[in-house]
């Protein structure tokens, strides 16, 4: 036990996780580094137990989203809308260090479970609230979804083909960012508490998280008054508006090759690509004469040349397979090439296998173990370990309510009868 503790970054740090959707990732991250995370869901089962399902069997106990973002947590059921449920929640708070929640602003306070209320129970409690726009302000009461949050952050505006609507990533991302920000905030507050003994509350805005990936797009407007419009699968030079093809069809899919110039590593990579094409007689003389530093930088490149180069490269890539272009191009020829991989390609990737990335967790009720994405990072002194699969509905009610909080058997039964747990 002592040994176990020293290898954990957060031994004994107890987190109550009331979040839903992608925000559940936050509790998962804390659990991964050793916190004791208790996922709390309604007695009828969390609304986040959604598709895709294990073997496509639509059953709340078989949700892959639930599995992915709730491993390394224990789980209890609790209806915090009912007064007795609120009492029990406060009992739990008395034993906890942090609460994560993603309800609408003011909802927890309306249940008398807001930050101030919880401080009465546990003065140094840490509470992270994750919402689309934050707790206060003109849009804080907006109805929102992952897609509308993505729109509010501006990154949606950056993505997609120019002749169609802006497009998101087909697996929702904004709430995952929200969960991660909540976890970082909670851990920051914990470090503050170690120094001062004081807890604090954390107000996460998922809109701000969706602003973050805008790369260089925002200041383009503020500095140069260039209002960016989505460009699709090209590399864009804001000052001249030139769009450089960087996605190419190949025999069995697509690859990205950063066939751009101006600086290294790009320019040298592009030069090596032309040399490779030349070995197959596919580099016309005009192409071999391009100086990738001087003729192909942001100031000198014309759209005409960029298109011509793009066509020549695709002629070449169409003669090869995705993995050939990747493996020979990236590793033998040091060209900036990447395969456009689907989930099957990723699962077969030899690098992930060589690093023993995939982790299996036992699901006894399914009679098998399931594969999971491995540790999000490697930590030498406190390695992330996979202790348990995501909890079933109310799986740890007895363990936590009776064995840890000391509730009597008949009390638990009464709560169950009233559908509070």
């Amino acid at each position: 036990m002592v040994n176990e503790q020293t290898k954990s970054a957060l031994p004994g740090f107890r987190v109550l996780d009331l979040t839903e959707g992608g925000c559940m990732l936050g509790g998962r991250m804390l659990g991964d580094v050793g916190a004791d995370v208790i996922k709390i869901e309604t007695p009828s089962g969390s609304p986040s137990r959604i598709a895709p399902y294990y073997k496509n069997i639509a059953d709340p106990e078989k949700s892959l989203v639930w599995f992915a973002y709730n491993s390394n947590k224990r789980g209890v059921s609790l209806d915090i809308r009912q007064p007795e449920g609120q009492q029990l929640f406060k009992k739990l708070v008395g034993t906890a260090d942090a609460v994560l929640e993603s309800f609408a602003p003011g909802y927890m306070s309306s249940l008398k479970l807001g930050y101030e209320d919880l401080c009465q129970v546990k003065p140094d409690i840490i509470m992270a609230s994750i919402t689309p726009f934050g707790q206060k302000g003109p849009k804080s009461n907006y109805q929102a979804s992952d897609l509308t949050i993505w729109a509010s952050g501006g990154f949606l505006n950056d993505c997609g083909d120019p002749d169609r609507a802006p497009v998101w990533i087909s697996f929702p991302q904004a709430t995952l960012f929200g969960g991660a920000e909540g976890a970082i905030g909670a851990l920051s507050a914990f470090l503050y508490r170690l120094d001062t003994g004081e807890g604090q509350c954390i107000d996460v805005s998922m809109q701000e998280a969706a602003v973050s990936p805008n790369m260089n797009i925002l200041p383009m407007w503020d500095v140069a008054k260039i209002e960016f419009r989505r460009v699709g699968a090209v590399s864009y030079v804001p000052r001249t508006g030139v769009k450089q093809p960087i996605y190419f069809r190949c025999k069995d899919g697509y690859v990205m090759i950063l066939a751009i110039g101006g600086n290294d590593p790009y320019a040298s990579s592009s030069e090596r690509l032309v040399k490779w094409m030349g070995e197959f007689g596919m580099a016309p003389p005009w192409l071999t004469r391009i100086n990738w530093w001087n003729d192909y930088n942001a100031s000198t490149l014309s759209q005409e040349l960029a298109d011509k180069v793009g066509q020549a490269i695709e002629q070449f890539t169409l003669t090869k397979g995705k993995m050939d272009l990747y493996l020979e191009g990236a590793f033998q020829r040091q060209i900036l090439v990447a395969p456009v991989s689907n989930t099957k390609d990723i699962s077969e990737d030899i690098q992930l296998r060589a690093r023993n990335y995939w982790v299996h967790l036992d699901h006894p009720e399914l009679g098998q173990s399931l594969p999971y994405c491995g540790p999000f990072i490697k930590m030498s002194a406190t390695p992330i370990s996979y202790q348990r699969r995501a909890p079933l509905i109310g799986e740890h009610n007895r363990e936590i309510y009776i064995e840890e909080l000391g509730l009597a058997e008949d009390h638990l039964k009464a709560l169950r009868d009233k559908k509070i747990i």
Binding site: L10, A51, P52, N56, P138, Q143, L147, A151, S152, G154, N157, C159, P166, W168, I169, S170, F171, A180, E181, L187, A189, L191, Y192, L194, Q200, S205, Q207, S212, P213, N214, N216, L218, M220, V223, R229, A233, Y236, V237, P238, M256, L258, I260, G262, N263, N297, P339, V340, S341, T343, I346, D349, Q351, L352, A354, L370, P371, Y372, I377, K378, S380
Partner: protein, 417 residues
């Protein structure tokens, strides 16, 4: 104990560049940590040589691409190829609590600045290395940017329209995913050090990290044998769910109808309450089946309004909707303003510029703060070497003379985008 900022007193030596490492340390810099960027005139940070630039001639100190990712930091310029430059780096590492780096695996070791060398003298050091595909394994040498990783970690394939080639997330998307996890790991390591006095080595493969933002689809293949496909802006359990064109020049509204209740209110709002009774649209299953026609019907309505008008109408009815905000909208967004998202700071070369926090949260007792604009290249050589590392003027002068402190670009700066 009186303490105004969470990470006051925490010192970070940042050898990492571009986006992932520099964004990770910013969570600490937003809350009081001292971050010193180790740069060189001989090898400019990719962000310094790319758009947008303030003024007509690009210089290493006038890119707001770099600016956006580096406020609240100091910069020194040293030549790590030079043995005396490495001596300076070693001094800085001795000063630091946290070292971050993102060179090709093995580079810091070659220079005698790797984790094993450092921990011998500083067992409490937290040392973070980040690379595309991690150390060890056949692809550890892979060089690239988030723009590369976006493809092999599956985000590109899942972005765009089912009838077309993928339309990838703009730029280095996985950098922004990865930075969250690495910042979190740095904090976890600080908590561990605080308890045990021990540091540790944190090693990141941005590939492995980023997959956590797609883990259900990955499991969907590994367990069910189904490959998830890109599907525009649609979502399995909602309709209408998409981005719809409005009046004006390239104006769009994102709409998500997530329940039958919202569907009813949506139909009321667009003046077609009868739709809820039409068999093609009465149930979610029916709407999914007739989604093309449904989307057309929604567009007929949005095209008659500005994006702002239709957002207001739908929000009033409690239906999730938001203008697809353009950069100019973001700078004027009343919600971001109310949270003081942008801070104007005066930069020595770029003048007044608006900087953003990295932390997307406000701690109620110790809120995030932006105090310093992004640094010019080598701007803080004197401050860091003299005040932080206690070197004398003579020592510093020697390093400038032998070139291990760099002061001039080699040739003319060229830009990629």
């Amino acid at each position: 104990m009186e303490k105004k900022k969470v990470f006051e007193g925490i010192k970070i030596a940042e050898f990492a560049w571009v986006v992932v490492g520099p964004s990770s340390s910013r969570y600490l810099a937003d809350h009081g940590a001292t971050v010193v960027k180790v740069e060189s005139h001989k090898r400019l940070d990719t962000n310094r040589v790319n758009s947008p630039f303030v003024g007509t001639t690009p210089t290493p100190d006038s890119s707001m691409f770099f600016g956006r990712h580096n406020p609240n930091k100091y910069s020194i310029s040293i030549d790590l190829q030079h043995p005396n430059g490495r001596q300076l780096a070693w001094k800085l590492i001795q000063w630091a609590d946290i070292v971050t780096e993102s060179f090709s695996p093995g580079t810091m070791e070659k220079w005698g600045l790797g984790y094993e060398d450092v921990r011998k003298v500083r067992p409490d050091i937290i040392y973070y290395s980040s690379s595309m595909q991690g150390r060890g394994g056949p692809h550890s040498s892979y060089a690239g940017y988030g723009q590369n990783a976006c493809n092999f970690s599956g985000f590109t394939e899942l972005s765009g329209w089912p009838d077309r080639l993928p339309s990838p997330p703009y730029g280095a998307y996985t950098d922004y995913v990865s930075a969250r996890f690495s910042a979190f790991a740095l904090l976890a390591a600080l908590a561990y050090r605080r308890r045990t006095g021990q540091g540790q080595y944190i090693e990141q493969s941005q590939f492995e990290t980023s997959l956590h933002f797609l883990s259900p689809p990955v499991m969907q293949w590994q367990i069910n044998g189904d490959i998830m496909k890109r599907n525009g802006n649609r979502l399995a359990n909602a309709a209408p769910h998409g981005v719809f064109q409005c009046q004006g020049d390239d104006r769009w509204l994102a709409i998500s109808v997530l329940s039958e209740e919202q569907w009813g209110r949506f139909c009321q709002s667009i003046g077609q309450p009868g739709l809820t009774l039409q068999p093609e649209y009465a149930t979610l299953a029916a709407r999914k089946k007739n989604e093309d026609a449904l989307d057309k019907l929604v567009t007929d309505w949005t095209l008659r309004h500005t994006a702002e008008e239709s957002e207001a109408i739908l929000q009033k009815a409690g239906v999730p909707a938001n203008v697809v905000e353009k950069p100019s909208d973001i700078y004027n967004d009343p919600q971001l303003k109310s949270r003081n998202y942008f801070t104007t700071l005066n930069h020595p070369v770029m003048g007044d510029q608006k900087f953003e926090p990295q932390s997307c949260f406000i701690l109620c007792k110790t809120p995030r703060e932006l105090n310093r604009p992004s640094p010019c290249l080598g701007q803080h050589n004197e401050y860091v070497f003299k005040e932080l590392l206690g070197m004398s003027d003579e020592e510093i002068a020697e390093h400038i003379i032998d070139g291990s402190i760099t002061t001039q670009l080699v040739g003319k700066m060229s830009t990629t985008f």
